[in-house]
């Protein structure tokens, strides 16, 4: 079976859920396809990374469009990426390490991230620090909707990215109800790894994302197999 190598659209990484699009109707949480289209369109605000297989006239148009707006967009994304206002949103144990990241030793103030805002209107980065229970998921989804564009999301810790230690009835991985840009592994992640995650997001916003581990280590044969691909 020939696996066509095409980049996985952002926000649609298969995160190993058994029954596909989960509708947890018990708590009114519904991620229908129409909503996710909107999220995908939202992803273009960051500027699509250049697909490998473009040529001829299509490449020409692509370059022309980018060169024209590149200086302004680069300046704006430089400004945005260097002054994220994270939403003060501690759920559980990772929040304690999030405090330590904002604390004197690790001090993310060096990168301009320490202004933790309480209201989603003033924040442009939501760090899900902790475990997301099924009762909390609709609330986080509403908070994410109430944040103003441009907005990004970091899921800090294993519980938020993949239900971590507690693979049971009570938790929902954050990927299921909102697009996550950076997953920070660890339980709880050390302040350094959270900062590494934020700096990786910074480079993504400045439109030259670090090479993923597959590109870096030339890992062939481990591409995500999308259904029907």
């Amino acid at each position: 079976m020939e696996i066509k190598r095409e980049p996985v659209p952002r926000g649609a990484r298969p995160t190993g859920q058994g029954q596909g699009e989960v509708e947890i109707d018990s708590s009114g949480l519904r991620v229908n396809t129409h909503d996710s289209k909107e999220l995908l369109r939202g992803a273009e605000l960051l500027g699509p990374t250049a697909p490998a297989s473009m040529d001829g006239e299509e490449l020409e148009r692509y370059v022309h469009e980018r060169v024209l707006t590149t200086t302004l967009e680069k300046a704006v994304s430089w400004g945005r990426s260097n002054s994220f206002f994270p939403l003060a949103f501690g759920l559980a144990c990772c929040a304690m390490e999030q405090f330590q990241t904002a604390g004197p030793r690790m001090d993310i103030a060096r990168f301009g991230f320490e202004a933790f805002r309480a209201s989603p209107r003033q924040a442009d980065l939501i760090i899900l620090a902790g475990r997301v229970s099924i009762k909390m998921a609709p609330i986080i989804r509403r908070l994410y909707d109430q944040m103003l564009e441009p907005k990004w999301a970091i899921s800090m810790g294993a519980c938020c990215s993949s239900m971590g230690v507690f693979n049971n009835y009570a938790l929902v991985p954050a990927d299921k109800f909102m697009p996550i840009d950076v997953h920070v592994p660890g339980c709880p992640p050390r302040p350094e790894s959270l900062m590494h995650g934020i700096l990786k997001l910074r480079k993504m916003v400045q439109d030259d994302p670090d090479a993923g581990w597959r590109e870096r280590y030339g890992a062939q044969g481990t591409e995500e197999i999308l259904p029907g691909a």
């Binding site: 559980a92 405090f99 030793r105």
Partner: protein
Amino acid sequence: MTVADQQLSEYRRREQSITLSQVEQSGEDTHEELLTLNFGPHHPATHGVLRLLVTLQGEVVRSIKPVIGYVHTGIEKTAEDKAYWKAIPVVERMDYLSYYFNSMAYVGAVETLLEVEVPKRAQYLRVIHLELNRIASHLIWLGTSALDLGAVSIFLYCLRERELILDLFEMSSGARMHTRYFQVGGVMEDIPVGFVEKTREFTKVMPARADQYGAILNANQIVLQRLRGTCPLDAETLLSLGVTGPLLRAAGNPWDLRKAAPYSSYDDFDFKIPVGTVGDNYDRFAVRVAEIYESVKIIDQALDGLPEGPHITTDRKIALPPRHELATSMEALIHHFKLVTEGFRVPPGEIYYPIESPRGELACFVRSDGSSKPARVHMRDPSFVNLQALSHMAEGSYIADMIATLAMLDPILGGIDR
């Protein structure tokens, strides 16, 4: 009284009769209706995802109904699915600020079921780590509570001290939080060489730092006015609500399990139990800050009297044999294999093992049905019970006092929602 005074007083009498409260009375029933507001799950002052349904009349809080469960992770159900020694990391993540206390309660319960005798050195190491964790937990409480009262700098000072403690945890067990350092029967590893000296450095520095917090907060008129005399609750009501820990001690009842029912050789150390008198927010604040000094004293005494000997029980059926023995002796290999695959079996029975956590009586109920998996693990979390006292304390006070009371109650939502 001159004539002018006469008229004046007559004028003054008429004028005094229109007192502001009269004006306000008429305001009472015309448009002053109650407003129910969500002091919701995402709020900077709720110390976690606690939602309070608050009914307000202007600035005065008329009724508080806590709604919890927003970080419920089904930990007790997950623990039933794991072998005994695999359940320790799961149980540790309940009350995520005092993780050593969770594992101490669970491990204590399993050891009572197994009737394992924990060696003296392991008991002392446990006490050192428990008290370090108590200081770290009080520091986060002090930092976030001062943040609620507006003193932002204290937050950064407390985090600076907490980093020192987390370094010690990392040195002894490799991880900063949820270290899984307590094993059934003792401690996982013996402490490295430089640990004792580093802890001594910390215990020398900590009282001076605590004095710095005192210097900033104790003489600060804003903090004193916000805390003194607000939302008191007498010891009798607290007892009927099942409240234990610093909240109960602030009301004058010196109930502390480390003194009342000493466990893990707490009776070898002499330390005092700080007790308040009035039971208002300032007493709760002062009791916790004084406990930091007491914990430092306990750590010093434990370091002085640290005995030699094994750091874990020598009973091979429960503790893993040391690695180097695996190459030589067959029994060690068999024990190692048995423990690593299925884990040890615990005789059937139920036990309720209470210890003193920074927030009150933390007890672990373990029921075993003879297999190698616990049949039921329940954590009696102090914050879960203490939260019920919030409505008794803060009803009738202003919103600002309710926030200060919630800060002094020190609820940890991981322990409440389990």
